[in-house]
């Protein structure tokens, strides 16, 4: 099992290649969309690179809870409700939702996922 730092370096390399960003922009706290400019198609590219770099399988729903964010059961008036938050937490235990919970508008979710979340996700996959 590689260390957290080794995983971070490989995740960073994947993000530098996929997003055309500089090494030093990929800090643990950088958000994928807001800071690194990832667009939806980039996530498909990133998934490819992470699967290859770590020899893991990444089901799309584990990183992109689109079904939750577009469900009338989990979204009320454009905001993710308590049941939706619980669904995301159970699906994505590696993500820090504290900031999102303060203002859970659906469009804010895009700015929630950070580089460190990606590292934690890979750590979880490698440990399982």
């Amino acid at each position: 099992m590689p260390s957290r730092d080794e995983i971070f370096e490989k995740v960073k390399a994947a993000l530098v290649d996929a997003l055309g960003v500089e090494d030093d922009e990929v800090s643990p706290t950088a958000t994928m969309v807001g800071d690194l400019g990832a667009e939806s198609i980039d996530f498909l590219d990133i998934v490819f690179r992470l699967e290859k770099a770590f020899g893991i399988k990444i089901p799309r729903a584990e990183l992109f809870p689109e079904d939750v964010l577009s469900s009338s059961e989990y979204v009320t008036n454009g905001k993710v409700n308590a049941a939706g938050i619980a669904a995301i937490k159970s699906r994505m235990p590696f993500i820090d939702l504290a900031k999102f919970e303060a203002n859970p508008s659906v469009q804010n979710f895009a700015n929630t996922l950070t580089v460190e979340d990606m590292v934690r996700y890979v750590q979880g996959k490698l440990a399982s």
């Binding site: 996929a18 055309g20 498909l44 490819f48």
Partner: protein, 166 residues
Amino acid sequence: MRWFWIDRFDEFIRGRRATAVKNVSLAEEHMHDHFPGAALMPNSLVVEGMAQTAGLLVADAIEFNRRVVLAKVAGADFHFDAVPGDTLRFEATILDLKPTGSLCKVTSTVGDRLQGEAELFFAHLEPGEGVPKLFEPDELLQWLDHMHIYDIGRDEAGNPLVRPDW
């Protein structure tokens, strides 16, 4: 007028790699004013030729059963401009192929000089995923015939490719 940015394939190994050529000619209208007195092929169109080379390689590998679209140019570097009289050779290699997408590396050379290199990411979309039908079957087959894919194409075991009966 068709959007052809490769002239033919010289090598086509199903699911692995392909080489196509593009003869750059002053007869192409876009060259006439690009630039006045100093014609050169825009590298955006070189990328298009690279994408057609790799895109057909990928589409064949998934038996043309999804719509293969160039989703992003993950990286591209060019070292000099292609000009009328040059023959560009595009060599495409599939780095990764999954049902939903593929990643290819493509180089462009003139003689033994590396003109450009790019990493291209294709999305493989199904009907209903936002992309209209790209080709009628007979039109696609005509293009593949122009490209000589079934004349020179081989599978990984070295057997000739069979022209589909669409």
